[in-house]
């Protein structure tokens, strides 16, 4: 009986001593943290995607509280949570959240298998980074999408997938949070964050080829050849042509679509516009012929 008693008392004493040590240590070495950071962290989505520019949501929470102490949380935005979350955070901190235009990832390449023929076969590690390092890729365009899906790997929101028919990535507008992970993952900076636009409509140049016109066109039938027609027709000064490539500034673009209609190769595209009368009548004619 003695043995059991001794064992029980010894173990009990050890347990009590450990508990006291743990309690003292937790109090002594406790990290002082502003309780508001914890509250803000609760409201933030918790995806740790880095879209706000900080490494994780806790970094963002810390910056928001700091900003609130300094009088303003402008310039801080969680693209994943959007205006709803920012509104909650603003209420918590008794600040006003700045309104931010929603953005979306846009893939600036239309080099589908049909438009851009494959001239070589790549037999190495199938990541965009590796293929980019090995050379121009499998086509004559050294700037275009390589189709290995580094962007898909990087996306934490299941918002981008490679279409197996075109071998190009496609962005799901509903799911995209414009966190920018795919932009960083693409070794050729093909993906860009652009404004979602009024009614979700956008116009952009779906090409990043900087080779001279004839060379670009030979490699891909929908390449930008820098013919400057778009530049000449834009009344809003939104278009610049640099290094044989046209670029539309989304801040200035008014979605008038004049450049889209004029582009000889079709490299300028408009997204989410209704089908216009003229096009539907061409369709009707085509159907009638068939």
């Amino acid at each position: 009986m003695n043995f059991i008693l001794i064992a029980v008392i010894t173990l009990g004493a050890i347990a009590l001593a450990s508990a006291i040590v743990l309690y003292v240590v937790s109090k002594r070495f406790a990290v002082e943290e502003d309780p508001r950071i914890g509250e803000v962290l609760e409201v933030l989505p918790g995806a740790n995607c880095g879209g706000c520019g900080f490494a994780g949501c806790s970094g963002m929470a810390g910056a928001l509280v700091k900003g609130a102490d300094n009088g303003s949380i402008d310039g801080l935005n969680c693209p994943v949570g959007g205006p709803e979350v920012m509104g909650h955070v603003a209420d918590l901190l008794e600040m006003t959240a700045a309104s931010v235009d929603p953005m979306v990832a846009v893939v600036r390449c239309n080099g589908t298998c049909e438009n851009r023929s494959r001239v070589a076969e790549y037999d190495g590690v199938r990541t965009c980074k590796a293929m980019h390092m090995s050379g121009a890729g499998e086509t004559g365009c050294g700037f275009g999408c390589l189709g290995c899906g580094d962007c898909v790997e990087a996306c934490q929101f299941d918002a981008i997938h490679i279409n197996p028919d075109t071998m190009l990535p496609e962005v799901d507008e509903e799911k995209c949070t414009s966190c920018g992970a795919c932009v960083k993952a693409c070794p050729r900076t093909i993906i860009e964050l652009r404004q979602k636009g009024d009614n979700n409509r956008r116009i952009y140049v779906q090409c990043v080829n900087k080779d001279k016109g004839p060379v670009a066109r030979k490699a891909c039938s929908v390449a930008c050849i820098a013919c400057s027609k778009c530049l000449k027709v834009c009344e809003f000064d939104a278009i610049t042509i640099e290094n044989n490539l046209s670029y539309i500034d989304f801040e200035k673009c008014t979605l008038c679509s004049k450049c889209v209609d004029l582009c000889p190769t079709g490299s300028i595209v408009k997204v989410n516009f209704p089908v216009t009368e003229s096009i539907s009548s061409v369709k009707e004619i085509k159907e009638a012929i068939q």
Binding site: R118, V119, A120, E121, Y122, D123, G124, A130, M133, S134, G135, E138
Partner: protein, 336 residues
């Protein structure tokens, strides 16, 4: 003309492959396997066949149904595990125990970590040690040689290692006179009613032939086997000089699973260190542990446990032991 193929360099590859290495080890095991059939007969054939078949089956079944991926039986690693497991068992072990061993070896020792290349412990040894600890009696009844048509009903006896243990425990060096001569141990001719040991460990000569083959075909390098054998030789020599009831070093390196372990088990790629320096450290420590367990522990055989313990240290060795970088010269004057 077809499209040109492109990739990053290098564009050439040597003739080495995983299959070639596994095949090399299996061929190197053949002398020992054939000798064991000669000494143990039916029992060893049944044990080895069962072990190989069971390992192949479990690897296929677990790959396909549990891990849900393509089974890769053709790389030869499951067959090798089966063969090595079988050679680490006594020839009178019942089939159902072998099946349990194979399941543990493949299922726990290999597949639970992620398959080929991902395991920390040598799967065959995991299986063997599990069986040793779970079924101590069947795993320590060693058949006497020469009973070619018996299986589980073989007559058993104490092994040379058992004798050595008894000599240490009783402090009586006369016991060691009962050991077979060194030549006999080399050839594997362990008679006089003595049990010979596990299937694979009897003939040191056959195992050494396997070592020569492995070195010639560049499947392994000398670092692990030689460092283990030398360490055991030196340490057991010191022990023998200290007290005569410790067996002499030649008898020690020829006895038990030392040769089998040093040549085939410790040299397993996945569980041994990646650098030559690391392999030497690994080998010396295995030798040390083997001597400690054999002489001071309660088991007569220490090799399997020594290897498993050092397997656990392999990641640590890999982390701290780096090869010498080219150009890493301490105090060379620039340009002289």
């Amino acid at each position: 003309m077809n499209k040109l193929v492109v990739s990053l360099s290098p564009h050439a590859h040597g003739s080495d492959s995983v299959e070639r290495n596994m095949r090399g080890v299996i061929i190197a095991l053949m002398p020992a396997l054939l000798i064991s059939f000669y000494y143990f007969g039916l029992g060893s054939v049944v044990v080895c066949l069962t072990s190989v078949a069971a390992c192949l089956f479990f690897e296929w079944a677990i790959s396909k149904y549990v891990l849900k991926r393509q089974p890769s039986l053709t790389d030869g690693s499951a067959m090798l595990t089966g063969l090595l497991l079988g050679m680490n068992l006594p020839s009178n072990l019942p089939v159902w125990i072998i099946l349990v061993g194979a399941l543990i070896a493949i299922g726990v020792g290999k597949m639970s970590f992620g398959g080929l290349g991902a395991n920390i412990f040598n799967p065959a040894l995991v299986g063997r040690c599990f069986l040793l600890v779970s079924f101590p009696a069947p795993m320590t009844l060693w058949p006497v040689q020469g009973q070619l048509t018996t299986y589980t009903d073989a007559v058993t006896g104490a092994t040379p290692l058992g004798l050595m243990k008894w000599a240490i425990k009783s402090g009586n060096s006369d016991v060691l006179n009962g050991l077979p001569s060194s030549i006999d141990m080399l050839l594997g001719n362990i008679s006089n009613g003595m049990g010979a040991g596990t299937i694979g460990e009897v003939s040191a000569l056959a195992l050494l032939l396997g070592l020569i083959y492995l070195l010639w075909k560049k499947v392994i390098t000398w670092h692990i086997p030689i460092s283990i054998i030398l360490t055991v030789f030196v340490l057991s020599g010191l022990m023998h000089l200290y007290k005569p009831y410790y067996a002499n070093p030649v008898q020690v390196i020829l006895s038990g699973g030392l040769m089998l372990g040093a040549i085939f088990m410790a040299t397993d790629y996945v569980t041994s260190p990646m650098t030559y320096k690391g392999q030497l450290i690994y080998g010396v420590c295995i030798g040390l542990l083997t001597i400690v367990i054999r002489n001071f522990g309660s088991y007569p055989e220490g090799m399997s446990f020594a290897i498993l313990i050092m397997n656990a240290f392999t990641p640590l060795i890999n982390h701290y032991v780096k090869p010498k970088r080219f150009g890493e010269v301490p105090a060379k004057k620039k340009g002289e």
